[in-house]
């Protein structure tokens, strides 16, 4: 069940540039999470943004949430080569569910 979907499928930028990954979701949510997965590692959470929040920041990362359009974005400023990873948005299947459902991910490549 694809409750959330990121776009674009892949992005390439040069170091220092800013980049934005978008996410659309299908269900009513109480929170949306962004994860990053580097090659050879498991996913790690970057930001959890709740439905009553419009924006949340974590260092160079900024997530937005628009519940009316059921969309979210993750922006990274001043990108670094080590930001190269797959970025996922994820939502719980329903408000009372423990099933965290991931999108297919966006592959971000940051070039020197």
């Amino acid at each position: 069940s694809q409750l959330a979907e990121e776009n674009p499928w892949a992005l390439s930028v040069h170091e220092g540039e800013s980049v934005t990954v978008n996410c659309s979701y299908k269900t009513s949510i109480t929170a949306l999470q962004w994860y990053r997965q580097k090659s050879g590692e498991g996913p790690a959470q970057l930001i959890l943004i709740r439905s009553n929040e419009r924006e949340k920041r974590n260092g160079r990362l900024r997530a937005t949430l628009d519940t009316s359009s059921q969309s979210s974005s993750l922006s990274i400023t001043a990108t670094r080569c080590e930001d190269t990873a797959v970025y996922f948005c994820a939502t719980f299947a329903s408000s009372g569910s423990w099933q965290l459902i991931f999108g297919s991910g966006t592959q971000l490549t940051v070039m020197p």
């Binding site: 929170a31 050879g40 498991g42 996913p43 099933q99 991931f102």
Partner: protein, 113 residues
């Protein structure tokens, strides 16, 4: 920092054989999860657990069993492995609070020949 350890990290199995993937967490989290990851599909939930003795089906449970003998351990069992189960498997744990963060292991790469 939450710690989730998977073993083995790599496994080659034969078609029809039994495979057990193990996961241990030291975070005292109630919830544990097994996902598989394939190119183009992201992470898909196979089974999850609310605590010792419980297992629940996720989105793609067919061909898999799970076992949660203790708070710390959660296993994924392939009784009759098939080549279509070749994938990377991730275990995760999380607290049983609303909208919790999941903490993932490093993954197990399984090849079924």
């Amino acid at each position: 920092e939450a710690a989730v350890t998977q073993s083995p990290r790599n496994k080659v199995a034969v078609t029809g054989g039994k495979v057990t993937l193990s996961c241990n967490q030291t975070n005292n989290h109630n919830n544990m999860y097994w996902y598989r990851q394939d190119t183009g599909h992201g992470l898909r939930l196979i089974h999850y657990s609310y605590g010792a003795g419980s297992t629940e089906k996720g989105d793609i449970p067919d061909g898999y069993k799970a076992s949660r003998p203790s708070q710390e351990n959660f296993s994924l069992i392939l009784e009759l492995a098939t080549p279509s189960q070749t994938s990377v498997y991730f275990c995760a744990s999380g607290p049983s609070v609303s909208q919790n963060t999941l903490y993932f292991g490093a993954g197990t790469r399984l090849s079924v020949l």
